[in-house]
């Protein structure tokens, strides 16, 4: 579904990403872990179009999307979230949801100026869907609050909701559990699990090892930009290189 070939990126003298070949299978929940500075977020930036690579190619469903613009990659069904949660601060929660829900398809100026009845209909459908998702995420009571008024955890939920309203094929989650209390982390995990069960391919960068090992079908370990281990959680956990580079000996 998503293939990466010879992807390299340097920042000055630092090798941020240096990956020969990875492909992600449809419907799999993959986690990418690794120490700080391992190139996880840069990898996301590269495949989602936010950073141009020095070399290499990225294919989404056999289509070359190397150096495509971020908006065009999002329209092709690969949606990402950000390490520092981003929401549209000066829009309400429902506006946030509906804005993301309405823009991947038709957006001609003419049609937006003429409020055609089909469009009104369309808008109602999006609104219903937005409320459904918000209910699942337990933020529907905040629908009319401004997004800037939400707590950090609620923003995380809104970001998650916003990213799934268009039925993405691939979801790139950048630290979905960062800075979230244990109870909410549990909730978010079960939502991610549910999304995966619904057939969305998920690639997640996360530091919470317990959570990663619990829900991932595949774990990729990056260190200094390169893949040092790749496989199911049990296999990766026992990999000596991983223990040395990241997991530690376990008696800290």
């Amino acid at each position: 579904m998503l293939k990466v070939h010879n992807l390299r990126k340097r920042f000055g003298g630092v090798k941020a990403v240096d990956i020969d070949d990875i492909s992600f299978e449809q419907n799999q929940l993959t986690s990418i872990i690794g120490p700080n500075g391992a190139g996880k977020t840069t990898f996301f930036d590269l495949i989602s179009g936010f950073t141009e690579g020095d070399e290499g190619k990225v294919f989404l469903n056999e289509k070359n999307i190397t150096n495509s613009q971020p908006f065009s990659i999002a329209r092709q069904g690969m949606v990402r979230t950000f390490q520092l949660t981003k929401v549209f601060d000066r829009m309400t929660v429902i506006e946030n949801m509906m804005f993301s829900g309405s823009n991947t398809k038709n957006d001609s100026l003419f049609r937006s100026l003429m409020k055609l009845s089909t469009q009104k209909n369309n808008e109602n459908l999006i609104r219903e869907k937005a409320f459904e998702i918000m209910k699942d995420l337990n933020i529907d009571h905040m629908a009319n609050s401004y997004a800037r008024e939400l707590s950090g955890g609620q923003k995380k939920l809104l970001e998650l909701g916003r990213s799934i309203i268009n039925d993405p094929k691939i979801l790139l989650l950048d630290e979905p559990l960062a800075g979230v209390n244990p109870k909410l982390a549990e909730e978010i995990l079960s939502i991610i699990q549910k999304l995966s069960d619904q057939g969305i391919t998920i690639i997640m960068v996360e530091h919470n090892i317990e959570a990663v090992m619990k829900i991932s079908e595949r774990v990729i370990v990056l260190a200094e930009g390169s893949v040092i281990a790749d496989g199911n959680p049990e296999k990766v956990r026992k990999e000596p290189k991983v223990i040395e580079a990241y997991l530690g000996s376990g008696n800290e």
Binding site: F50, Q69, F71, S72, F82, F88, N103, D107, L109
Partner: protein, 305 residues
């Protein structure tokens, strides 16, 4: 006092239109555009160039006679030229700067450079003379409480309509919503499928057209000068800050208030014979208001977490 209030409304509506334009651009692109004043002047100078009678003695670049076109058509063409001007600035200057991640301060200095460059280009093109649009003199009439010429009253009404139009546009059209989205987070807008480059281009064009319109208003009420935009720029900044930086509605109200403060302060007893100090009084009031409401009248305090 009431007479000055009417003048204040007129000045206010000009500053208001220009402030909204500045504020839109700042909100979407984070550019503090010091060349905004030159786009304002461009609107007025272009209108003058297209509409002045061919046989008038004024020559542009000391050589070209004006075109003597219909005044309304000249206004439309001038506004379009301003839009194209803004679009070209974005495509050939500010987009490349953005792509190579030039910092905000450097970009600000670039706009100061542009401002100086174009101001002096206008000095060459339209000379330093104070000029007037080819409009007949009108007698003042009373509208509600205010005495003003019918033409100035039309400017006031047109300005109000423009404000309402901008408000509706931002709230209800898809492209207006997209502008608000890019203003909040460029990255997130992209992830939502918005081509932010197109939105930024549109914002440059819209902001420049509005600036040009403000310049034309200013020239109708007063006159055309090569540095007319620069002279009013400080008041426009004041209007934007007073209303709350980055909020369009705030810029509208802030601009209007600054205009009223400036003109009404002329009528204050201690100002007699010192009318050239009117801007000082207005800006002092602005500072006082900001002391009590640092985020501006309509600015929002951000939740910092």
């Amino acid at each position: 006092m009431i007479e000055q209030f009417g003048n204040g409304l007129l000045l206010g509506i000009i500053i208001s239109v220009a402030s909204v334009a500045l504020s839109l651009l700042y909100g979407v692109t984070r550019i503090v555009n010091f060349a905004h004043g030159e786009i304002i002047a461009l609107g007025a100078i272009m209108t003058l160039f297209f509409s002045n009678p061919i046989d008038s003695k004024i020559l542009f670049l000391d050589r070209f006679a004006p075109l003597g076109m219909n005044f309304s058509i000249s206004i439309v063409i001038a506004i379009l030229i301003c839009g194209i001007f803004g679009g070209l600035l974005e495509i050939f200057l500010f987009r490349p700067l953005r792509k190579s991640e030039v910092g905000n301060i450097a970009v600000l200095v670039v706009t100061i450079g542009l401002s100086i460059f174009f101001r002096h280009l206008y000095l060459l093109f339209a000379t330093g003379r104070v000029q007037n649009f080819p409009l007949e003199l009108e007698r003042r009439q009373t509208y509600l409480f205010f005495d003003m010429t019918p033409r100035n009253f039309q400017v006031l009404i047109a300005g109000l309509f423009v404000m309402i139009f901008i408000g509706l546009f931002l709230s209800y059209t898809k492209i207006g919503k997209a502008m608000r989205a890019v203003r909040d987070s460029n990255e997130l807008a992209n992830v939502s499928g918005i081509n932010s480059d197109n939105i930024i281009l549109f914002t440059w064009i819209a902001s420049s057209m509005l600036a040009g319109l403000a310049g034309i208003f200013q020239a109708i009420i007063n006159d055309v000068r090569y540095n007319m935009g620069f002279l009013i720029l400080l008041l426009i900044f004041a209007g934007t800050v007073l209303g709350g930086i980055g909020t369009s509605f705030g810029a509208m109200v802030g601009g209007l208030l600054i205009g009223i403060f400036v003109q009404v302060s002329v009528a204050l007893p201690f100002m007699e014979g010192h009318t050239e100090a009117k801007n000082a009084v207005a800006l002092a009031i602005m500072i006082l208001i900001l002391l009590f409401r640092p985020q501006g009248i309509f600015g929002q305090k951000e939740r910092i977490s």
